[in-house]
Protein backbone atom coordinates (compact mmCIF):
# COMPACT_ATOMS: atom_id res chain seq x y z
CA UNK A 1 0.00 0.00 0.00
CA UNK A 2 1.31 3.41 -0.91
CA UNK A 3 1.77 5.89 1.87
CA UNK A 4 1.32 9.63 1.66
CA UNK A 5 1.40 12.61 3.98
CA UNK A 6 -1.28 15.28 3.70
CA UNK A 7 -0.33 18.52 5.42
CA UNK A 8 -3.25 20.62 6.66
CA UNK A 9 -1.76 24.02 7.39
CA UNK A 10 -2.41 25.30 10.90
CA UNK A 11 -2.01 29.06 10.99
CA UNK A 12 -4.52 29.81 13.69
CA UNK A 13 -7.51 29.97 11.38
CA UNK A 14 -10.60 27.87 11.42
CA UNK A 15 -11.89 24.69 12.83
CA UNK A 16 -8.99 22.42 11.98
CA UNK A 17 -10.13 19.63 14.25
CA UNK A 18 -13.13 18.81 12.10
CA UNK A 19 -11.17 19.30 8.88
CA UNK A 20 -8.57 16.77 10.01
CA UNK A 21 -11.29 14.32 11.10
CA UNK A 22 -13.06 14.61 7.75
CA UNK A 23 -9.82 13.93 5.85
CA UNK A 24 -9.11 10.92 8.08
CA UNK A 25 -12.62 9.56 7.50
CA UNK A 26 -12.49 10.15 3.74
CA UNK A 27 -9.09 8.43 3.50
CA UNK A 28 -10.38 5.46 5.46
CA UNK A 29 -13.60 5.14 3.45
CA UNK A 30 -11.64 5.36 0.20
CA UNK A 31 -9.33 2.57 1.34
CA UNK A 32 -6.35 4.94 1.43
CA UNK A 33 -5.16 3.63 4.77
CA UNK A 34 -1.57 4.67 4.10
CA UNK A 35 -2.63 8.30 4.26
CA UNK A 36 -1.28 10.28 7.18
CA UNK A 37 -3.05 13.55 8.00
CA UNK A 38 -0.68 16.07 9.57
CA UNK A 39 -2.17 19.17 11.13
CA UNK A 40 0.91 21.34 11.12
CA UNK A 41 2.41 24.79 11.41
CA UNK A 42 5.85 23.46 10.48
CA UNK A 43 6.96 24.76 7.05
CA UNK A 44 9.34 21.82 6.61
CA UNK A 45 6.47 19.33 6.85
CA UNK A 46 4.43 21.40 4.39
CA UNK A 47 7.32 21.74 1.94
CA UNK A 48 7.90 17.99 1.85
CA UNK A 49 4.26 16.83 2.06
CA UNK A 50 2.67 14.79 -0.70
CA UNK A 51 -0.47 16.93 -0.62
CA UNK A 52 -1.19 20.29 1.00
CA UNK A 53 -4.47 21.73 2.30
CA UNK A 54 -4.94 25.40 3.16
CA UNK A 55 -8.11 25.92 5.21
CA UNK A 56 -9.34 29.31 6.32
CA UNK A 57 -12.28 31.01 7.95
CA UNK A 58 -12.73 34.63 8.91
CA UNK A 59 -11.70 37.81 7.18
CA UNK A 60 -9.35 37.77 4.19
CA UNK A 61 -6.79 40.17 5.60
CA UNK A 62 -6.74 38.37 8.96
CA UNK A 63 -6.10 35.05 7.26
CA UNK A 64 -3.33 36.53 5.12
CA UNK A 65 -1.71 38.07 8.19
CA UNK A 66 -2.01 34.75 10.03
CA UNK A 67 -0.32 32.94 7.18
CA UNK A 68 2.46 35.52 6.96
CA UNK A 69 2.96 35.28 10.72
CA UNK A 70 4.28 31.73 10.38
CA UNK A 71 7.89 32.24 9.22
CA UNK A 72 8.61 30.42 5.97
CA UNK A 73 5.06 29.08 5.48
CA UNK A 74 4.20 30.88 2.24
CA UNK A 75 7.58 29.82 0.83
CA UNK A 76 6.97 26.22 1.93
CA UNK A 77 3.51 26.17 0.32
CA UNK A 78 4.92 27.67 -2.85
CA UNK A 79 7.71 25.13 -2.90
CA UNK A 80 5.28 22.21 -2.53
CA UNK A 81 2.75 23.49 -5.08
CA UNK A 82 4.87 25.27 -7.64
CA UNK A 83 8.27 23.56 -7.60
CA UNK A 84 7.28 20.03 -6.59
CA UNK A 85 3.86 20.15 -8.30
CA UNK A 86 2.07 18.60 -5.33
CA UNK A 87 -1.73 18.59 -5.27
CA UNK A 88 -2.88 21.65 -3.33
CA UNK A 89 -6.39 22.38 -2.03
CA UNK A 90 -7.60 25.68 -0.58
CA UNK A 91 -10.84 25.69 1.39
CA UNK A 92 -13.11 28.75 1.81
CA UNK A 93 -10.83 31.70 2.61
CA UNK A 94 -7.96 29.28 1.90
CA UNK A 95 -9.35 29.08 -1.64
CA UNK A 96 -9.82 32.85 -1.81
CA UNK A 97 -6.16 33.32 -0.86
CA UNK A 98 -5.26 31.63 -4.17
CA UNK A 99 -6.54 34.77 -5.95
CA UNK A 100 -4.52 37.85 -6.87
CA UNK A 101 -6.08 39.98 -4.15
CA UNK A 102 -8.90 40.26 -1.67
CA UNK A 103 -11.15 43.33 -1.42
CA UNK A 104 -12.67 42.58 2.02
CA UNK A 105 -12.39 45.74 4.20
CA UNK A 106 -9.02 46.55 2.59
CA UNK A 107 -7.05 45.46 -0.48
CA UNK A 108 -4.92 42.47 0.50
CA UNK A 109 -2.57 40.61 -1.83
CA UNK A 110 -3.28 36.91 -2.27
CA UNK A 111 -0.98 34.21 -3.60
CA UNK A 112 -1.87 35.01 -7.22
CA UNK A 113 -2.04 31.36 -8.29
CA UNK A 114 -5.58 31.74 -9.68
CA UNK A 115 -5.71 35.26 -11.18
CA UNK A 116 -8.72 37.26 -10.04
CA UNK A 117 -10.22 39.34 -7.25
CA UNK A 118 -12.21 38.30 -4.20
CA UNK A 119 -15.17 40.69 -4.07
CA UNK A 120 -18.49 40.96 -2.20
CA UNK A 121 -21.36 38.78 -3.38
CA UNK A 122 -24.13 40.98 -4.74
CA UNK A 123 -27.20 38.83 -5.41
CA UNK A 124 -29.41 40.25 -8.15
CA UNK A 125 -32.42 39.62 -5.90
CA UNK A 126 -32.23 42.08 -2.97
CA UNK A 127 -34.29 39.69 -0.82
CA UNK A 128 -31.45 37.17 -0.81
CA UNK A 129 -29.52 37.21 2.44
CA UNK A 130 -25.78 37.70 2.71
CA UNK A 131 -23.81 35.69 3.85
CA UNK A 132 -24.69 32.98 1.36
CA UNK A 133 -25.19 30.41 4.09
CA UNK A 134 -26.35 26.85 3.75
CA UNK A 135 -26.59 24.01 1.28
CA UNK A 136 -26.43 24.65 -2.45
CA UNK A 137 -25.95 22.54 -5.55
CA UNK A 138 -23.02 22.85 -7.98
CA UNK A 139 -23.13 23.52 -11.72
CA UNK A 140 -20.02 22.03 -13.33
CA UNK A 141 -18.50 24.03 -16.19
CA UNK A 142 -16.08 21.26 -17.05
CA UNK A 143 -14.81 17.85 -15.94
CA UNK A 144 -12.28 17.87 -13.17
CA UNK A 145 -10.86 15.04 -11.08
CA UNK A 146 -12.18 16.45 -7.79
CA UNK A 147 -15.75 16.07 -9.06
CA UNK A 148 -15.36 12.48 -10.28
CA UNK A 149 -18.46 10.49 -9.44
CA UNK A 150 -20.17 13.44 -7.73
CA UNK A 151 -23.63 14.27 -9.13
CA UNK A 152 -23.86 17.99 -9.95
CA UNK A 153 -26.67 20.16 -11.31
CA UNK A 154 -30.01 21.06 -9.72
CA UNK A 155 -30.68 17.42 -8.83
CA UNK A 156 -27.14 16.74 -7.69
CA UNK A 157 -25.63 16.60 -4.22
CA UNK A 158 -25.30 19.70 -2.05
CA UNK A 159 -22.27 21.50 -0.63
CA UNK A 160 -22.23 23.67 2.51
CA UNK A 161 -21.39 27.32 1.92
CA UNK A 162 -20.91 30.21 4.29
CA UNK A 163 -19.36 33.32 2.80
CA UNK A 164 -20.00 36.94 1.87
CA UNK A 165 -17.18 37.28 -0.68
CA UNK A 166 -16.40 35.23 -3.75
CA UNK A 167 -13.55 34.74 -6.20
CA UNK A 168 -14.09 36.29 -9.62
CA UNK A 169 -11.54 34.49 -11.76
CA UNK A 170 -10.00 36.42 -14.65
CA UNK A 171 -9.75 33.30 -16.78
CA UNK A 172 -13.08 31.44 -16.92
CA UNK A 173 -11.20 28.23 -17.62
CA UNK A 174 -10.02 28.24 -13.99
CA UNK A 175 -13.63 27.92 -12.81
CA UNK A 176 -14.68 24.27 -12.55
CA UNK A 177 -18.06 24.72 -10.88
CA UNK A 178 -20.40 27.49 -9.82
CA UNK A 179 -23.34 27.79 -7.50
CA UNK A 180 -26.37 29.89 -8.19
CA UNK A 181 -27.29 32.59 -5.66
CA UNK A 182 -28.86 35.58 -7.35
CA UNK A 183 -26.28 35.02 -10.09
CA UNK A 184 -23.32 32.68 -10.47
CA UNK A 185 -20.98 32.27 -7.48
CA UNK A 186 -17.59 30.60 -7.97
CA UNK A 187 -17.66 27.30 -6.06
CA UNK A 188 -14.68 25.28 -7.30
CA UNK A 189 -11.55 26.47 -9.10
CA UNK A 190 -8.59 24.52 -10.44
CA UNK A 191 -5.47 25.25 -12.43
CA UNK A 192 -2.88 22.51 -12.96
CA UNK A 193 -2.21 20.96 -9.53
CA UNK A 194 -3.87 23.74 -7.52
CA UNK A 195 -7.57 23.64 -6.62
CA UNK A 196 -9.89 25.44 -4.22
CA UNK A 197 -13.44 25.13 -2.92
CA UNK A 198 -15.50 28.06 -1.70
CA UNK A 199 -17.72 25.58 0.16
CA UNK A 200 -16.60 23.49 3.10
CA UNK A 201 -16.04 19.88 2.00
CA UNK A 202 -15.30 18.94 5.62
CA UNK A 203 -18.87 20.02 6.48
CA UNK A 204 -20.59 18.76 3.34
CA UNK A 205 -21.41 15.21 4.35
CA UNK A 206 -21.55 12.90 1.31
CA UNK A 207 -20.41 15.38 -1.33
CA UNK A 208 -17.64 16.59 0.95
CA UNK A 209 -16.20 13.19 1.82
CA UNK A 210 -16.33 12.16 -1.87
CA UNK A 211 -14.51 15.33 -2.95
CA UNK A 212 -11.85 14.90 -0.25
CA UNK A 213 -11.33 11.28 -1.34
CA UNK A 214 -10.93 12.50 -4.93
CA UNK A 215 -8.35 15.03 -3.77
CA UNK A 216 -6.45 12.31 -1.90
CA UNK A 217 -6.29 10.28 -5.14
CA UNK A 218 -5.73 13.25 -7.48
CA UNK A 219 -2.75 12.90 -9.85
CA UNK A 220 -2.65 16.23 -11.71
Amino acid sequence: MSTQTVAIIDYGSGNLHSAAKAFERAAHEAGLDGTRIALTSDPDIVASADRVVLPGVGAYADCRRGLDAVPGMVEAMTHAAKERGRPFLGICVGMQLLATRGLEYEVTPGLGWIPGDVAPIRPSDPDLKVPHMGWNTLQADRDQALLDGIPTGENGLHAYFVHSYALNAEDPVDVVARSSYGGPVTALVARDNVAGTQFHPEKSQRLGLALIANFLRWKP
Binding site: N15, H17, S18, K21, A22, R25, V57, G58, A59, D62, L128, K129, V130, P131, H132, M133, G134, W135, N136, T137, E154, L157, H158, Y160, F161, V162, H163, S164, S180, Y181, E202, K203, S204, Q205, R206, L207, G208, L209
Partner: protein, 263 residues
Protein backbone atom coordinates in the same frame (compact mmCIF):
# COMPACT_ATOMS: atom_id res chain seq x y z
CA UNK B 1 -30.39 26.85 -5.50
CA UNK B 2 -29.86 27.48 -1.80
CA UNK B 3 -32.02 25.19 0.32
CA UNK B 4 -34.04 25.84 3.46
CA UNK B 5 -32.29 24.32 6.46
CA UNK B 6 -33.80 22.17 9.20
CA UNK B 7 -31.87 22.39 12.47
CA UNK B 8 -32.71 20.00 15.30
CA UNK B 9 -31.73 21.50 18.66
CA UNK B 10 -30.63 19.38 21.59
CA UNK B 11 -30.74 20.69 25.14
CA UNK B 12 -27.68 19.31 26.90
CA UNK B 13 -27.17 19.29 30.65
CA UNK B 14 -24.09 17.78 32.29
CA UNK B 15 -23.27 16.02 29.04
CA UNK B 16 -26.68 14.38 28.57
CA UNK B 17 -29.71 15.25 26.48
CA UNK B 18 -32.28 16.65 28.87
CA UNK B 19 -35.43 16.16 26.87
CA UNK B 20 -36.14 12.55 26.08
CA UNK B 21 -35.11 11.33 22.68
CA UNK B 22 -36.96 8.51 21.06
CA UNK B 23 -35.08 7.18 18.09
CA UNK B 24 -35.42 3.50 17.42
CA UNK B 25 -31.80 3.32 16.36
CA UNK B 26 -30.51 4.91 19.53
CA UNK B 27 -28.94 2.65 22.09
CA UNK B 28 -28.47 5.33 24.69
CA UNK B 29 -31.30 7.82 24.44
CA UNK B 30 -29.55 10.31 26.68
CA UNK B 31 -26.25 10.57 24.85
CA UNK B 32 -26.10 13.73 22.71
CA UNK B 33 -23.47 12.23 20.43
CA UNK B 34 -25.74 9.29 19.60
CA UNK B 35 -28.62 11.71 19.02
CA UNK B 36 -26.41 13.84 16.76
CA UNK B 37 -25.43 10.78 14.71
CA UNK B 38 -29.09 9.81 14.29
CA UNK B 39 -30.00 13.33 13.14
CA UNK B 40 -27.00 13.31 10.80
CA UNK B 41 -28.19 10.05 9.23
CA UNK B 42 -31.74 11.40 8.99
CA UNK B 43 -30.61 14.32 6.83
CA UNK B 44 -30.56 17.22 9.29
CA UNK B 45 -28.88 20.23 7.68
CA UNK B 46 -27.18 21.49 10.81
CA UNK B 47 -27.18 20.63 14.49
CA UNK B 48 -27.50 22.85 17.52
CA UNK B 49 -26.45 21.99 21.07
CA UNK B 50 -27.75 24.24 23.77
CA UNK B 51 -25.80 23.74 26.98
CA UNK B 52 -28.00 24.37 29.97
CA UNK B 53 -25.49 23.08 32.49
CA UNK B 54 -25.87 25.11 35.64
CA UNK B 55 -22.26 25.30 36.70
CA UNK B 56 -19.44 26.58 34.57
CA UNK B 57 -17.09 23.96 36.00
CA UNK B 58 -18.80 21.22 34.01
CA UNK B 59 -17.78 22.84 30.74
CA UNK B 60 -15.32 20.04 30.04
CA UNK B 61 -18.20 17.60 29.65
CA UNK B 62 -19.75 19.73 26.92
CA UNK B 63 -16.42 20.09 25.13
CA UNK B 64 -16.08 16.32 25.10
CA UNK B 65 -19.58 16.02 23.59
CA UNK B 66 -18.75 18.61 20.92
CA UNK B 67 -15.45 16.94 20.12
CA UNK B 68 -16.97 13.46 19.78
CA UNK B 69 -19.81 14.83 17.64
CA UNK B 70 -17.40 16.60 15.30
CA UNK B 71 -15.53 13.33 14.83
CA UNK B 72 -18.67 11.57 13.66
CA UNK B 73 -20.87 14.19 11.97
CA UNK B 74 -19.52 16.15 9.01
CA UNK B 75 -22.12 18.89 9.10
CA UNK B 76 -22.24 22.33 10.71
CA UNK B 77 -22.57 22.33 14.47
CA UNK B 78 -23.70 25.32 16.54
CA UNK B 79 -23.13 25.40 20.28
CA UNK B 80 -24.76 27.85 22.66
CA UNK B 81 -25.14 28.43 26.37
CA UNK B 82 -23.05 30.45 28.78
CA UNK B 83 -20.65 31.92 26.21
CA UNK B 84 -19.19 35.08 27.74
CA UNK B 85 -15.62 35.51 26.53
CA UNK B 86 -13.53 35.23 23.38
CA UNK B 87 -11.73 32.37 25.13
CA UNK B 88 -15.09 30.55 25.48
CA UNK B 89 -15.61 30.89 21.71
CA UNK B 90 -12.12 29.76 20.84
CA UNK B 91 -12.37 26.70 23.11
CA UNK B 92 -15.65 25.62 21.49
CA UNK B 93 -14.36 26.17 17.95
CA UNK B 94 -11.22 24.19 18.71
CA UNK B 95 -13.34 21.37 20.12
CA UNK B 96 -15.19 21.15 16.80
CA UNK B 97 -18.05 23.64 16.87
CA UNK B 98 -18.50 25.67 13.68
CA UNK B 99 -20.66 28.40 15.13
CA UNK B 100 -21.43 29.68 18.58
CA UNK B 101 -24.74 31.08 19.70
CA UNK B 102 -24.46 34.10 21.98
CA UNK B 103 -27.42 35.23 24.05
CA UNK B 104 -27.09 36.99 27.41
CA UNK B 105 -23.57 38.24 26.71
CA UNK B 106 -24.80 39.96 23.53
CA UNK B 107 -27.42 41.87 25.53
CA UNK B 108 -25.06 42.81 28.34
CA UNK B 109 -22.18 43.79 26.09
CA UNK B 110 -23.05 44.22 22.39
CA UNK B 111 -19.39 44.95 21.61
CA UNK B 112 -18.64 41.33 22.50
CA UNK B 113 -20.47 40.35 19.30
CA UNK B 114 -18.31 42.73 17.29
CA UNK B 115 -15.15 41.43 18.95
CA UNK B 116 -16.17 37.82 18.20
CA UNK B 117 -16.92 38.63 14.56
CA UNK B 118 -13.60 40.40 14.06
CA UNK B 119 -11.65 37.63 15.75
CA UNK B 120 -13.39 34.53 14.37
CA UNK B 121 -15.45 35.82 11.43
CA UNK B 122 -19.13 36.67 11.19
CA UNK B 123 -19.86 33.20 9.83
CA UNK B 124 -19.43 31.66 13.27
CA UNK B 125 -21.27 34.26 15.36
CA UNK B 126 -24.96 33.50 15.83
CA UNK B 127 -26.87 35.86 18.10
CA UNK B 128 -29.77 34.20 19.89
CA UNK B 129 -32.63 36.66 20.39
CA UNK B 130 -35.21 35.64 22.99
CA UNK B 131 -38.21 37.93 22.67
CA UNK B 132 -41.65 38.31 24.20
CA UNK B 133 -44.53 40.28 22.77
CA UNK B 134 -45.09 43.39 24.88
CA UNK B 135 -47.82 45.11 22.87
CA UNK B 136 -51.44 44.71 23.89
CA UNK B 137 -53.86 43.12 21.42
CA UNK B 138 -54.93 45.73 18.88
CA UNK B 139 -51.78 47.80 19.30
CA UNK B 140 -49.02 47.76 16.66
CA UNK B 141 -46.94 44.67 17.45
CA UNK B 142 -43.77 45.09 19.48
CA UNK B 143 -41.44 42.70 21.23
CA UNK B 144 -38.89 43.02 23.99
CA UNK B 145 -35.65 41.13 24.63
CA UNK B 146 -35.62 38.84 27.65
CA UNK B 147 -32.61 37.09 29.15
CA UNK B 148 -32.06 34.26 31.62
CA UNK B 149 -34.44 31.86 29.96
CA UNK B 150 -37.15 34.46 29.47
CA UNK B 151 -37.32 35.56 33.10
CA UNK B 152 -35.55 38.90 32.91
CA UNK B 153 -36.96 41.76 30.81
CA UNK B 154 -34.39 44.18 29.45
CA UNK B 155 -36.55 46.96 28.01
CA UNK B 156 -34.74 46.53 24.70
CA UNK B 157 -36.86 46.48 21.54
CA UNK B 158 -36.29 43.18 19.71
CA UNK B 159 -36.30 44.62 16.18
CA UNK B 160 -33.86 47.39 17.08
CA UNK B 161 -31.65 44.85 18.83
CA UNK B 162 -31.68 42.58 15.75
CA UNK B 163 -30.59 45.48 13.52
CA UNK B 164 -27.83 46.36 15.93
CA UNK B 165 -26.53 42.80 16.15
CA UNK B 166 -26.42 42.53 12.35
CA UNK B 167 -24.56 45.83 12.13
CA UNK B 168 -22.05 44.66 14.74
CA UNK B 169 -21.16 41.62 12.65
CA UNK B 170 -23.45 38.76 13.65
CA UNK B 171 -23.62 36.27 10.78
CA UNK B 172 -27.04 34.91 11.65
CA UNK B 173 -29.88 35.49 14.11
CA UNK B 174 -31.66 32.73 16.03
CA UNK B 175 -35.03 34.23 16.88
CA UNK B 176 -36.99 32.51 19.65
CA UNK B 177 -40.44 33.54 20.76
CA UNK B 178 -40.58 33.11 24.53
CA UNK B 179 -44.37 33.27 24.31
CA UNK B 180 -44.44 30.25 22.02
CA UNK B 181 -41.52 28.18 23.31
CA UNK B 182 -42.82 24.75 24.28
CA UNK B 183 -46.41 25.73 23.48
CA UNK B 184 -46.59 23.78 20.20
CA UNK B 185 -48.79 26.44 18.66
CA UNK B 186 -46.37 27.48 15.93
CA UNK B 187 -43.66 30.14 15.63
CA UNK B 188 -44.49 33.78 16.33
CA UNK B 189 -44.56 34.50 12.60
CA UNK B 190 -45.02 38.25 12.98
CA UNK B 191 -41.87 38.43 15.12
CA UNK B 192 -39.86 36.25 12.74
CA UNK B 193 -41.04 38.28 9.74
CA UNK B 194 -40.38 41.63 11.39
CA UNK B 195 -36.79 40.66 12.15
CA UNK B 196 -36.17 38.92 8.80
CA UNK B 197 -37.36 42.09 7.04
CA UNK B 198 -35.21 44.31 9.24
CA UNK B 199 -31.85 42.61 8.59
CA UNK B 200 -29.95 41.34 5.56
CA UNK B 201 -28.45 38.32 7.36
CA UNK B 202 -30.17 34.90 7.63
CA UNK B 203 -32.77 34.39 10.36
CA UNK B 204 -33.49 31.04 12.05
CA UNK B 205 -37.06 30.66 13.35
CA UNK B 206 -37.36 29.00 16.76
CA UNK B 207 -39.85 28.37 19.53
CA UNK B 208 -43.25 26.78 19.39
CA UNK B 209 -43.31 24.23 16.59
CA UNK B 210 -46.25 21.89 17.00
CA UNK B 211 -46.42 20.28 13.58
CA UNK B 212 -44.85 20.20 10.16
CA UNK B 213 -47.00 23.00 8.75
CA UNK B 214 -45.42 25.30 11.34
CA UNK B 215 -42.03 24.71 9.72
CA UNK B 216 -43.44 25.66 6.30
CA UNK B 217 -45.03 28.80 7.76
CA UNK B 218 -41.74 29.81 9.41
CA UNK B 219 -40.21 30.11 5.95
CA UNK B 220 -43.22 31.20 3.89
CA UNK B 221 -44.76 33.69 6.27
CA UNK B 222 -41.90 34.28 8.70
CA UNK B 223 -39.25 34.79 6.02
CA UNK B 224 -36.79 32.53 7.87
CA UNK B 225 -33.81 30.96 6.08
CA UNK B 226 -33.77 28.02 8.48
CA UNK B 227 -36.13 26.43 10.97
CA UNK B 228 -35.13 25.09 14.35
CA UNK B 229 -37.16 22.58 16.33
CA UNK B 230 -36.66 20.39 19.35
CA UNK B 231 -39.71 18.63 20.75
CA UNK B 232 -41.33 17.43 17.53
CA UNK B 233 -38.16 15.52 16.68
CA UNK B 234 -37.06 14.44 20.16
CA UNK B 235 -40.33 12.88 21.13
CA UNK B 236 -40.60 10.89 17.94
CA UNK B 237 -43.62 12.84 16.69
CA UNK B 238 -41.87 13.43 13.36
CA UNK B 239 -38.57 12.51 11.78
CA UNK B 240 -36.35 15.00 9.98
CA UNK B 241 -37.08 12.98 6.83
CA UNK B 242 -40.82 13.54 7.19
CA UNK B 243 -40.27 17.21 7.86
CA UNK B 244 -38.14 17.63 4.73
CA UNK B 245 -40.57 15.75 2.50
CA UNK B 246 -43.46 17.77 3.90
CA UNK B 247 -41.68 21.06 3.28
CA UNK B 248 -40.65 19.95 -0.21
CA UNK B 249 -44.24 18.95 -0.97
CA UNK B 250 -45.30 22.44 0.12
CA UNK B 251 -43.03 23.85 -2.56
CA UNK B 252 -39.96 24.79 -0.51
CA UNK B 253 -36.49 23.90 -1.81
CA UNK B 254 -35.05 21.25 0.47
CA UNK B 255 -31.84 19.23 0.43
CA UNK B 256 -32.75 15.56 0.12
CA UNK B 257 -29.23 14.11 -0.46
CA UNK B 258 -28.93 11.87 2.56
CA UNK B 259 -32.45 10.57 2.23
CA UNK B 260 -32.01 9.56 -1.37
CA UNK B 261 -28.77 7.79 -0.49
CA UNK B 262 -30.66 5.58 1.92
CA UNK B 263 -33.63 4.62 -0.21
Amino acid sequence: MLKTRIIPCLDVKDGRVVKGVQFLELRDAGDPVEAAKAYDAAGADELCFLDITASHEDRGTLLDVVSRTAEACFMPLTVGGGIRTLADIRTLLLAGADKVSINTAAVKDPDFVAAGAVKFGSQCIVVAIDAKRTSAPGEPASWQIFTHGGRTPTGIDAIEFARKMAALGAGELLVTSMDRDGMRSGYDLALTRAIADAVSIPVIASGGVGGLDDLVAGVREGGASAVLAASIFHFGQHTVREAKLHMAAAGLSMRLDEMEARR
